[in-house]
Subunit: 260 residues, 2 copies
């Protein structure tokens, strides 16, 4: 079973035109596909409208109870359901899921060490991803669209990094006899050698080059966990991992391919 | 295929303890079941937090674009996903759906006559309910939990009355070789003869008694569309329609049964 897992980033989701275009490219993928999305910028906007202060430490969101409710409303509510209605309009039969739906993604609340991240969940165990349920939908030609909310199985919803969900789903499906390509889509052509030059993308990056670029601060912020999740997927059975623009999902050129 | 369709009302959803208890009773139903919910009171709370004025005409919500976004976030987001995580915790494998998910409930935007209701959708056609998708989930022992958001198939999400969704699903499944019981659950024992006396519920109500009680203003407000939807379901193939407390879903006593 060949599957394309596509993660779309916040920059594409927040702009109506870009989102529409991205979804059209997603619909053009032949065969089985899965979409994973976050949408952090929209959460900031709603937090602001509700006068709930945004709390971040080192680029990561602190998810207290009020923030969790906003995160659930935004990811699983407005963003996920708008995506589904647009996909249906494009004749892509799809279903929006948080991790609790069909028990498809379980997670474990992050331990409170030096920083208390609040209601944040990490995927840790092999059977945290319910691959049989995901394959059951795919075989019926229903495209799963996962938002970055998971559950702990004890009645609690948790905020979980969307790149990590995409990576873990790719690994679990690969370990369950699937041939998986993982595509991180965002608003750049790939991993840039120079952040100021949008054309300076690398066609390939291996782990040692990534480590070097991270050390030299050429790769920073959200690109670090994205690449970490990408290399994690590649090392654990995913056939191919790439980063680039949404119109290059089905195209091998003009994007960054991750290598061992 | 015997199916219990259960609609839970806003009064039960807004109170954490009542919701938990209602879901436990729902889980106790043997065999195939479907849950339908609204949650209007929570929408009012969020509108207020976001400084968006609440607009109602004759007890019905006027859903402008901003209100639609809040309605989607609340019904499909926070309420639906919390219900799913609680059902999973109670070992009821369930999936949260809006009408766009799996194209399960389509609707048609209400025409602007004397009142412009905004982004409100009505279920009109026989094939607006995707019974084959609902039965596909049920046969896999996945319980569908529908919120009161539908879609028009053109990329638009619409606000739709939850009683009407429950009624139309019951009819469509009945017409697709299912034996359906429709249970409206709320915070009263049934249809009351005297609104001030919670014990004054009718054990039975037929259409002419309903008409008489409506005329005499004994039945009013939201109880009118609920009973209209109930009688509509009964007249169109639903085996049994009842109204009462959530602990009486599987019990024929102490609730109001609708008769022809």
């Amino acid at each position: 079973m060949k599957i394309n897992v596509v993660k779309i980033g916040g920059g594409l989701i927040n702009d109506k035109k870009l989102l529409n275009a991205s979804l059209k490219f997603f619909c053009m993928i032949n065969g089985y596909k899965i979409l994973v999305h976050g949408g952090g910028k929209k959460v900031d906007y709603i937090l602001n409208m509700m006068n709930i202060p945004k709390k971040m430490i080192k680029g990561r969101r602190i998810t207290d109870k009020k923030t969790l409710n906003v995160v659930i409303m935004t990811y699983a509510g407005i963003i996920n359901k708008n995506i589904i209605s647009l996909l249906q309009h494009n004749n892509c039969n799809s279903i929006g899921l948080c991790g609790a739906d069909g028990n498809c993604v379980k997670s474990h609340i992050r331990k409170k060490n030096t920083i208390d991240y609040g209601y944040v969940g990490d995927i840790k165990k092999k059977n945290d991803i319910n691959t049989s349920f995901i394959k059951f939908l795919l075989k019926k030609n229903i495209t799963p669209v996962l938002c970055s909310i998971t559950h702990d199985g004890m009645g609690n919803l948790l905020n979980t990094n969307a790149d990590s969900i995409a990576s873990n789903i790719s690994i679990s499906l690969s370990n369950d006899n699937c041939d998986v390509d993982l595509n991180f889509c965002f608003d750049k052509k790939g991993v840039l050698k120079n952040i100021k030059d949008p054309e300076s993308y690398l066609s390939k990056i291996n782990f040692s080059l990534f480590q070097k670029m991270k050390k030299n601060n050429v790769i920073f912020n959200g690109m670090i966990p994205k690449l970490e999740n990408g290399f994690f997927a590649l090392k654990n059975g995913t056939s191919k991992v790439s980063i680039g623009l949404p119109d290059k999902i089905i195209d091998s050129s003009e994007k960054t391919i991750l290598c061992m």
